[in-house]
């Protein structure tokens, strides 16, 4: 029952790192940032309504940040709501209480998430395996109660209200965020930059170490890597992405409900990443779209949509562990490797 000896659960090679075999798919993978951005830029054309599209964008980024740890480093955290929440509260408080410029507020929110991630990570990386999931969950609940109690700053139980950002003022222009289309593309600029950075990190030597740790933590350590330090850095980076998502969400919703920080929200990141595919670059966005469209559709049918969401999630764990996007990629890869395709 050594938590460290556990092999990777989903037996599929990632198509992303330079460690993957060649092929047409791998060549397409080299343009993953451009392809992802193109898909997200066209997404409003098919989305039911724009507010939902922005939600998908923001929570897709949240799931992407989570997936840096789970999909790439093999660390299952149930505490990422704390980073989403810290980003949201940090940004919201900066705007509501101090009247800062939205850009500064986004930076501040992300910074707060980084600080929370550093503190939580410092404690959580002392545990391994599935203990890590329990520890991160419990630590995030500590953050939750702290924000719950800091009522004067956070609004406590009622959440932080009144984050009104009607327009994003930049030198020379003012972008009207009340126009949902403008809002979508403004958010996409942030999310796109994050996607680009995320891809750079994955392709870097550091990204290679993350994959090595996921594949075989003990071996990575024997190679000479200080596994704990690598994990902590990954935890903080992951927290930064989620913090940015939170800051954008605060501006988008103009309110930060206290539930943002609850571990149920951490669970949503897990669900979205898994629905889309944890071993894929774009999977978290596919998962976020699936989750939110599902929620949106089911909620019109029944107030007990959570029952169905839970059951669908169980079915994915049992029968479709690669997730939707992961399954698509796996099929394409088989086609790619079929006789007549590659030599």
């Amino acid at each position: 029952m050594s938590g460290s000896a556990a092999g990777p659960a989903r037996a599929v090679p990632s198509s992303e790192g330079s460690g993957a075999p060649g092929g047409r798919l791998a060549r397409a993978g080299r343009h993953r940032v451009a392809l992802s951005l193109a898909a997200l830029a066209l997404f409003p054309l098919v989305a039911p309504y724009e507010a939902l599209a922005v939600n998908i964008l923001v929570l897709g980024l949240y799931a992407l940040g989570f997936n840096l740890l789970f999909g790439y480093a093999g660390l299952l955290s149930f505490g990422h709501a704390a980073f989403l929440g810290a980003g949201a509260y940090g940004c919201g408080i900066a705007i509501v209480q101090y009247g800062l410029h939205p850009l500064a507020a986004i930076g501040l929110g992300t910074g707060l998430a980084v600080a929370v991630a550093a503190a939580m990570g410092y404690l959580a990386i002392r545990t391994r395996g599935i203990y890590f999931a329990m520890t991160t969950l419990a630590l995030s609940m500590c953050v939750y109660y702290a924000f719950y109690r800091a009522e004067r700053l956070t609004g406590g139980e009622n959440g932080l209200r009144g984050i009104n950002v009607p327009a994003l003022g930049l030198p020379g222009v003012s972008l009207p965020l009340l126009d949902p289309t403008v809002k979508y593309y403004v958010v996409l600029v942030f999310v796109g930059a994050a996607i680009w950075l995320f891809s750079r990190i994955l392709a870097s030597p550091f990204g290679a170490v993350l994959e090595a740790i996921r594949e075989n933590e003990g071996r990575a350590e024997a190679c000479g890597y200080d596994v704990r330090r690598v994990k902590l850095v990954a935890f903080v980076i992951s927290g930064a992405f989620c913090g940015l998502a939170g800051a954008l969400q605060a501006i988008h919703l103009s309110i930060v409900p206290i539930e943002t920080m609850h571990y149920a929200t951490s669970g949503e990141a897990v669900m979205m990443a898994l629905l889309g595919g944890t071993r894929t670059f774009f999977g978290p966005f596919v998962g976020a779209a699936t989750f939110l469209l599902l929620q949106d559709g089911l909620a019109t049918l029944t107030s007990h949509w959570q029952l169905l969401v839970g059951a669908i999630f169980i079915a994915f764990v049992l029968f479709l562990p690669l997730g939707l996007w992961g399954e698509v990629l796996a099929r394409l890869r088989r086609l790619d490797a079929a006789p007549g395709g590659a030599p």
């Binding site: 870097s204 550091f206 003990g218 024997a222 190679c223 200080d226």
Partner: protein, 249 residues
């Protein structure tokens, strides 16, 4: 033989609960050549291997690397000092290609916290990985996932990963375990070639394999040091014959 041994243990022992796996073993490994650690099942060979390779710390005693006390250092420190190991149970990165396995291993001593440049910004690591794969006889397996390789190939891959750290001291735990006769022959040929340029310590269950290859032998029995010396001296040792060679000699 240089004055300071590359590796030495002083009275190291290891207890697991009430079980004494290893007890007061003091040995010195001179620089260069192959030293083999042999002994029957349960002699404490693997425990000894794990202690000197830094997998876990001893319950008592000290471990010296070039005269420096390294007892209790974490595994990644051992690697940084120039001690590399290949495990008894195949221990690779299964869903990475053979090439990436070796490249990541080589990267450990070269770059650590580079988050923004591409892996391709270090072409020397890729070249090194290719060269090492060729050295262990896997030049045509570079693009395959490690888990798709045959057992013998995975062991060879693992040795390439160990070599990627440019170790002065290479520790191998039963490198031929579970191998076919041909694979075994190829592996022992590789081991002999490797020893030309670095110190090798080899844990081996099959005594015959190492007799012709190694300069010195260390015999463990029931967690204690039973004998050490040249292969000829060990062959002649009455105690060793009694406990270890009993059936075959």
């Amino acid at each position: 033989m240089s004055a300071v041994p590359i590796l030495a243990t002083e009275g190291v022992g290891k207890r697991f609960g009430a079980f004494r796996a290893l007890d007061g073993v003091s040995v010195a490994f001179p620089e260069g050549g192959i030293t083999a650690i042999i002994g029957p099942n349960g002699a404490g060979k693997s425990t000894f291997f794990n202690l000197v390779s830094g997998a876990f710390p001893p319950s008592e005693g000290r471990i010296l690397y070039r005269g420096r006390d390294i007892t209790g250092s974490p595994p990644h420190r051992f690697a940084a000092l120039g001690i590399a190991k290949s495990f008894q149970i195949t221990n690779v990165f299964p869903h990475l290609t053979a090439h990436e396995n070796v490249r990541v291993a080589a990267q450990a001593r070269r770059v650590r916290f580079d988050l923004l440049r591409d892996r391709a910004a270090y072409p020397e690591l890729a070249r090194k990985a290719e060269a090492l794969l060729a050295e262990v006889g896997l030049p045509d397996r570079a693009g395959r996932l490690a888990r798709e390789l045959a057992h013998g190939e995975q062991r060879a891959l693992e040795i390439a990963m160990a070599l990627a750290a440019d170790p002065d001291l290479l520790l191998l735990d039963e490198p031929t375990a579970g191998m076919s006769p041909e694979e075994t022959r190829a592996m022992m040929g590789l081991v002999a070639r490797l020893a030309a340029r670095r110190t090798l310590i080899l844990v081996e269950h099959k005594m015959k394999l190492v007799m012709d290859l190694c300069r010195r032998l260390i015999v463990l029995h029931q967690g204690r040091l039973l004998a050490e010396g040249t292969p000829d001296a060990i062959r002649a040792d009455a105690e060793v014959r009694r406990v270890y060679l009993g059936r075959s000699a």
